[in-house]
């Protein structure tokens, strides 16, 4: 694992709803190193996508308030003006989006879409740009590069389009790559190919990859380190083996227990009681996961839980993990309370 390339410090991202700003990302601190895959895991509404978009400066300005720091090469990119930010985006930091069907402009040929970022970040001539675009298409495993170069997005399959999206992101050799659910919209066999491709490409570029996903299987395949998010906060962060084999936080453990796996065969899956609170209804003091593990007494939780390093490089929020257990015979709570 290499040097840190991106340092996020006390990042909060708040959305304005009826005159109030509600944090969707709440005081997140993270470091991404070069040549590493850091997975950010959580269910919908946990703030993982809001985090990714804030790194790329893609939140609409009027409705979002962003505090904290995102430091890239000793400059806080949250403080950059538009022109300077555009020098970083697509050049130093690039992003791969979830849905390859919508991430490409339907009216523009594939080749032009790949070349676009080179126009702004390099002084390549048109022929150099074309050469590079063809080279990138080959790199992401597209056959008949010349033909695809001149095609429109709708002429390609979903897997091919996602390869194009990756080629676009790689065009200027970014140091940080943010992949937001890059395989969720794809079939399993295609998913395996895309994940393999991302791994191979990382060997070349040494980029730090932030992999945003809800799929722990994808995490197991790709990640070096994992940050688990719940209700806007990181609740646990450690290397991938620790997260999958010796998770500590009740949320991480519950998530892992709710996935059908080889071992779970036909038996009951664990069900996390209740629902993820919306950002307006979220109680922001105390352990945010406490309402969903009611059988754990209140005294087990901290009043103002912080991420603490419980083992070297293994950080957990709230002391409730110490005496956490799954209720016997009650796994798979059938009734849930409707508020």
């Amino acid at each position: 694992m290499g040097n840190p390339v991106l340092k996020i410090r006390n990042l909060s991202v708040s959305f304005k709803i009826k005159d109030y700003h509600y944090p969707a990302v709440d005081d997140v601190t993270l470091t991404i190193n070069e040549d590493e895959v850091l997975a950010i895991v959580g269910e919908s509404g946990c703030g993982k996508s809001a985090l990714a978009l804030s790194i790329m400066g893609l939140h609409p300005k009027g409705r979002t308030k962003i505090d904290g720091e995102i430091n890239y090469q000793d400059q806080n990119i949250l403080r950059l003006n538009d022109a300077s930010l555009n020098k970083v985006r697509g050049n130093e930091i690039a992003m791969i989006f979830q849905d390859p069907l919508t991430a490409l402009n339907p009216l523009v040929r594939i080749g032009k879409q790949i070349e676009e970022s080179m126009k702004y970040h390099t002084n390549f001539s048109a022929s150099q740009r074309k050469k590079r675009a063809l080279e990138l298409l080959g790199k992401v495993g597209i056959p008949y590069v010349k033909r695809v170069y001149a095609q429109y997005p709708h002429e390609l399959s979903g897997g091919m389009r996602q390869r194009v999206v990756i080629a676009i992101a790689l065009a200027c050799n970014p140091k940080v790559l943010i992949a937001d659910e890059p395989t969720t919209a794809l079939d399993v066999t295609i998913q395996a190919q895309i994940l393999d491709l991302m791994k191979t490409l990382q060997e070349d570029t040494m980029a730090g990859i932030i992999l945003i996903t809800h799929d722990l299987g994808v995490v197991a395949e790709m990640a070096d380190r994992v940050a688990v998010m719940y209700a806007g906060q990181i609740v646990e962060i450690a290397d991938v083996d620790t997260i999958l084999k010796k998770p500590l936080h009740p949320y991480t453990r519950s998530l892992l227990n709710s996935i059908p796996s080889k071992m779970s065969n036909k038996s009951r899956l664990h069900v996390i009681e209740g629902v993820v609170p919306t950002i307006q209804n979220l109680k922001r003091n105390g352990c945010r996961f406490a309402p969903r593990i009611k059988w754990i007494g209140g005294s087990e939780h901290q009043e103002n839980p912080l991420l603490e390093e419980v083992e070297p490089d293994h950080w957990v929020r709230c002391s409730c993990y110490r005496n956490f257990y799954f209720p016997k015979g009650k796994t798979g709570e059938k009734h849930d309370v409707l508020t």
């Binding site: 269910e43 066999t189 197991a220 998530l255 996935i259 899956l269 798979g332």
Partner: protein, 308 residues
Amino acid sequence: MSLLKVNDLKVHYPILGGFFHTVIDHVRAVDGVSFELRPGETYGLVGESGCGKTTIGRAIIGLNKATSGEINFNGTDLTQLSRGQRRQYTKDIQMIFQDPYSSLNARKRVLDIVAEPIRNFERLSSEEERKRVQFVIERVGLNPEIIYKYPHEFSGGQRQRIGIARALMLNPKLIIADEPVSALDVSVQAQVLNFMQDIQKEFNLTYLFISHDLGIIRHMCDRMGIMYRGRFVEEGTSEDIYNEPQHIYTKRLIAAIPELETANRKEKTHIRNQIAEEYRQTKHQFFDKDGRVFSLKKISDTHSVAMQ
């Protein structure tokens, strides 16, 4: 005795083309598929997008017309029935859809959504109807008082359960579940899957479980058919398919499932590449020269593979 027996089912769609927009070819969405469901079992239909699994489900319930073949339900061939005759059978076959957000009419109350199927078959007083609805709503683990609320007031998992409650209203024998949890978060997914297992016992249901997710299929199903381009490539029990896959496509599919295991990453990639290579080399054993999957051949009591 089987509850449902599908025999050589074909669903073809015409492709229009040429100068006068005439039929120039057919999309063979389902191209000669046979399988049977025994009462009380969960049968999985697995495959990637466009393989025809959803079309089979829709053909059974009558949303797609079968081009040829038989769909025998309790001894009656549904494809031979007129729309009117079919109605009494559709009472026994219900469907659960993928997207709990769009499959419920947003302008109707839960009461009306859940009562809708029964209104087509029986005349109940509003009092009786309300009681029946509240009964099933309670069975699916929701508070019976919610029947006057609207779908947007519920979470994804709760909506999916309302969808299931609607399917249960007519005491069906067979439920076709088309990707019932694909749109849900993992924890909610677990809730719905558990719950489907519960009501299966309680109501003695048979499931046709359609999914692209091999992990979920393994968790839920007794037997399954793997589909590729409108045809079965392999059929068998969970053990047959997951432990001894024979068809090269099944092998590829299974190798592609991400496991919660970090140890053998390099090895896994290696295996996938190996299978990809094997795929190239042994293709002719599994597909004819037009790329069509061969017909199934029995290799054990429970296990069939499409080979030459």
